[in-house]
Symmetry: C2
Subunit: 407 residues, 2 copies
């Protein structure tokens, strides 16, 4: 039986996730100086326990402790953050996997399966859009050309950032060429449900579908003073109506989330009527029809507003992630682990995307959630207690023991 | 009698205002490369006609043709633009003044008054806020320390930009130490009234008052998926309600304009609920009470929204420009000029700020407006016909003759 070292896990987690921490939150954007620093720290620790380390051509870092078989169980998540992000999102899963590898080394047994850990590049999609670029390339969802041509806001390509980071690896190390038997991802819930309802562990049945659109409202700029109120074609008034109407619509629906996250105004000076506003609409639901209905509703609303405010409207589909369901056997194994450890657990859906999503293409996948205080995530206030983190780590450990069958 | 050279005026105007022109509009922001280029061109022409040229410590450029007296009539405006601006705003007034100086030179008479032209720095307030920095310093409204410490969006101070431009002049050249008898500013209306009502010339009685506030809505960022719609504290939803409510309020009032021109979202990524939105509200009216009432209403609305959406709200007074009234004698002289030239003219207010505003502190001031097609300004579509520009130039010429009494 594995025995995780709780103090080692917690001290490694807290010291390393401080890399990139600022007063406004974590700024460890994919492949930036902070991300590179934690990657180097991860590799140091993986080396110190004799892991076999490989890096693929998306910069995904994998460390493995050999078992009796080359078949392997993969534990993964990501260490990049959104701007002004939290300390737990992604980072927790990688640190938990690292502790699992360390505890196998401590025990000095040979597992049936090879046990691997992976840190995926650019999970967040904050520096390079879309999200899940690393897992997308390594699982064969994205073409290399597409991934490499993504640009950040300073117009730097993913390819250049990857080369400059020193983490350009070998195409042959892609997971799709050597698929894991199982993939496990331990993560914070990023929502308020587990805490509010008093559960210690969430077992996601899958990840809800997600569609993102861009809407552009075009009006006519003019000096703020001389144009009478009733002659204006103010793109920001149109966009503002859209933000509130779509929120009001989504609030009255079950199982639907709709968020305007990006909104940019042109020319954005105090004394000019805005001539153009571009915004993104992110729509999620475990019910595929609901997403379609909501997008159609959003388009209808935008057209009504264009009519009311004498604006032009354009909309573009940016991307869709289809709903995925996790492996039933893995879900049952996680449930069994919870029962053996006397954890209060709840089946639920993940409303956020995770690398687990693309891993379902090539592996049997399960996820484990722990409570997020107040449900806050992607913000400096993101918090999960050490106790909850250790609970999750123990469930991960037990699940691996059950899947491996030899520890 | 002066005789302006219409072809010279129009060809100088059209060729020089193309400096800084892009497909999206004019990018001749204060003291940037394009502004510096037109300043150099202006100085070339002023030198070629033997003007006395002086530059003050705000970078305002003045060129003078000596009359019998050192007392002088000043014609002025500005050559800087907003980003994505029009070709006429400000530039027209400087080019018209330049043609007046050239026509005096042509005639080879000595006027009673010295006739001067001034190009004011950073009228727009687009690069450095607030607006009217050049006229503010030279008329004694602003302290030098305040003006010099203003920063653009790249954190460059006005002082550094001024030094780098090569247009740092002498404090002793400030207008406040040598006040003009009269100040005249010829400008496009920037509104639709003259064109719609069929007038050739507008005679502003003054400039309406203006107050600008900044409002900040603070909520809680979180991942866009996992937070249920009814638990959100979305700062952008709050800001959007504000934009539409304040517009609806202003639309139902007489003699009031209210514009949200700047709106910035944090963190501004597609999959995070916005945690903070900062916006500016620009309120104008010829009735001072109306401005106060509107600002109080805006604060009340923001508090209601903060309550409804569980947000925090902060508001800050950025600046106020009091209403100014122009000199009655100058207004009558402009009217007389219009009558002598058989121009259809209308008395009106200027809803936009102009350097004329601060010039009322040290001089007898009048303005002359010409029609703006569709009322569009601060945009690439800004347009006034050559015919209307020449009409304005002729009224300016005639007004100067009447004020001078010796041409």
């Amino acid at each position: 039986m594995l025995s995780v070292n709780v103090n080692r896990f917690l001290s490694t987690f807290h010291s390393l996730t401080n890399i990139g921490w600022t007063e406004e939150g974590v700024m460890r954007l994919a492949l930036n100086e902070y991300d590179v620093k934690v990657r180097e720290e991860l590799i140091k620790i993986l080396s110190s326990i004799g892991s076999i380390i490989s890096v693929d051509d998306a910069g995904n870092i994998r460390g493995s402790i050999r078992g009796k078989s080359d078949d392997y169980i993969l534990i993964g998540s990501h260490m990049d953050s959104v701007p002004y992000g939290g300390k737990y999102d992604g980072f927790y899963g990688v640190m938990a996997g690292l502790e699992i590898l360390r505890s196998i080394k401590d025990l000095n047994v040979t597992t049936n399966y090879t046990i691997s850990l992976i840190d995926f590049t650019n999970e967040e999609g904050a520096r390079f859009q879309p999200s899940l670029l690393g897992s997308g390339l390594t699982t064969g969802v994205f073409e290399r050309e597409y991934v490499y041509s993504r640009r950040d806001k300073d117009n730097i390509t993913f390819e250049k950032a990857l080369i400059d980071s020193g983490f350009m690896g070998d195409k042959n190390n892609r997971l799709v060429y050597n698929k894991p038997e199982y993939y496990l991802e331990l993560h914070i819930e990023q929502g308020p449900i587990l805490e509010e309802e008093g559960y210690q562990i969430g077992i996601p049945l899958g990840i809800v579908g997600l569609t993102v659109y861009e809407f552009t409202f075009k009006g006519q700029s003019s000096q703020a003073g001389p144009t009478p109120m009733n002659r204006r074609r103010d793109a920001l008034v149109g966009a503002s109506k859209f933000v509130t109407r779509i929120r009001d619509f989504a609030r009255n629906e079950e199982d639907l989330r709709a968020t305007v996250g990006i909104l940019n105004v042109k020319p954005n000076i105090y004394n000019a009527i805005p001539r153009e506003v571009k915004l993104t609409l992110d729509v999620r639901s475990p019910n595929k029809n609901k997403i379609e209905i909501a997008i159609n509703k959003a388009i209808e609303i935008s057209k009504e507003i264009a009519e009311e405010e004498n604006l032009e409207i354009k909309y573009t589909h940016l991307w869709t992630a289809q709903q995925v369901n996790f492996d039933e056997d893995v879900i049952k194994t996680i449930e069994k682990a919870c029962k053996e450890l006397n954890m209060r657990y709840k089946f639920m859906y993940s409303w956020a995307g995770h690398d687990a999503q693309y891993m379902t293409r090539i592996s049997k996948v399960g996820m484990i959630f722990i409570p997020s205080h107040l449900g806050i995530s992607h913000a400096k206030e993101e918090y999960s207690s050490d106790e909850d983190m250790v609970n999750g780590l123990r469930v991960l450990q037990k699940t691996i023991e059950l899947l491996d069958g030899g520890i």
